[in-house]
Symmetry: C2
Subunit: 160 residues, 2 copies
C-alpha cells in the first residue's frame, strides 16, 4: 500500500533525478566540514546554512546534541572510504583507527561503542525497518518503509 | 577568527533570511512523518526526497541507523511542544510520557536513556562546543563554533 507520503517521495524524487548531475561527487566532503543541527522540521540546513551538495556531512538529532552524535562524528573523521562509507569497515577496524589516529584517551572515551557498520545496504535497511516495527518505542499504527538512495543517480528505490 | 566556512555560512544565511517567509510554521511536522537518513554529504534530503520546510523531522547519522536514532525518534513522537521542543521537558517528563503513552515494554527498552533536554539554548550550544573541544575523539586542530538558528526569521547567530 502506497501512502501519500510515499507517493510524494517517489514523484518528487523522480523529478529530482531527472536533472541530477552530481553523480561524480566524491564521498569525503569537499569542504571538509561537519554540521550538527536539530531534526526540527523547520530547518533546511542546505538552504539556510549554504551547504552545497557534497560539501559537508550533516548530522541531525533532537536538539543537535554533539554527545548523541559521537558515533557519527568519529566515523566522519576516521572511517569514510569511497562509496558507502559504512560498508568499508568493521567495529574492530574502527576501534583500531581511533586508537591509532586519536590516541588512547579517545579510545577510552569511545569504550566499547558499536559503530553499527553493515556489509550489505539492502539488508541494513531491512534490519532497521524490522527493528522499528518490533520496538515498543514506535506505536504499531506507524507506517514504516525502507529505501535506498543512489548517490550516483539521485534516485530512490524502495527496499521494504 | 572567521574561517571560510563561517563566512560562507553567514553570507548564504543572510541571503536565505532576506526572502524567508516561513516563520509561521508550527513545531509539529505538518505532514506528521519522520525521515532517518545518512549524514552523507552527497544527500540533500529536502530536495531529493521532496520534503518541504516544516513537513517532517529529519534525523541524520552515519549509516542512517534507526537504533542510533532511538532518542530522537521517541522525542519526535512524544515530546515536542511549541518553539524549541528540547526546552519543554525534563528527563523525568520524558520517561513518564514513554510509560504512559507507549507502555511498560517501551519504558523497559528505553531504560535509563538520557534524553539530553536543556533549559537554555545558548548554554546548550556552549556546552556542546565545550564538549567537542574537550573530547579526545575530535583532534585539537579542528575548528569548532556554535550557532543558533531562529525558525521565526531564518537567521543564524553565532554563540561561540
Amino acid at each position: 500500500m502506497t501512502s501519500e507520503i510515499q507517493k510524494n517521495l517517489v514523484e518528487k524524487n523522480t523529478e529530482y533525478a531527472r536533472t541530477f548531475d552530481s553523480g561524480h561527487l566524491a564521498l569525503p566532503p569537499a569542504k571538509k566540514y561537519l554540521v550538527v543541527t536539530c531534526m526540527d522540521a523547520r530547518i533546511d540546513p542546505a538552504a539556510a546554512f549554504g551547504i552545497s551538495l557534497g560539501d559537508a556531512h550533516v548530522i541531525r538529532n533532537a536538539g543537535a546534541s554533539a554527545k548523541d552524535a559521537q558515533r557519527s562524528i568519529v566515523i566522519s573523521e576516521q572511517l569514510l572510504g569511497t562509496r558507502c562509507g559504512m560498508l568499508t569497515f568493521t567495529n574492530d577496524d574502527a576501534h583500531a583507527l581511533v586508537k591509532l589516529n586519536l590516541g588512547p584517551a579517545a579510545a577510552a572515551e569511545v569504550g566499547t561503542l558499536d559503530f553499527l557498520p553493515f556489509s550489505d545496504l539492502d539488508n541494513a535497511v531491512k534490519s532497521d525497518v524490522e527493528y522499528l516495527k518490533k520496538t515498543a518505542t514506535v506505536p504499531e499504527d506507524v507506517k514504516i518503509s525502507g529505501w535506498v538512495y543512489a548517490v550516483e543517480t539521485g534516485k530512490v528505490r524502495q527496499v521494504v
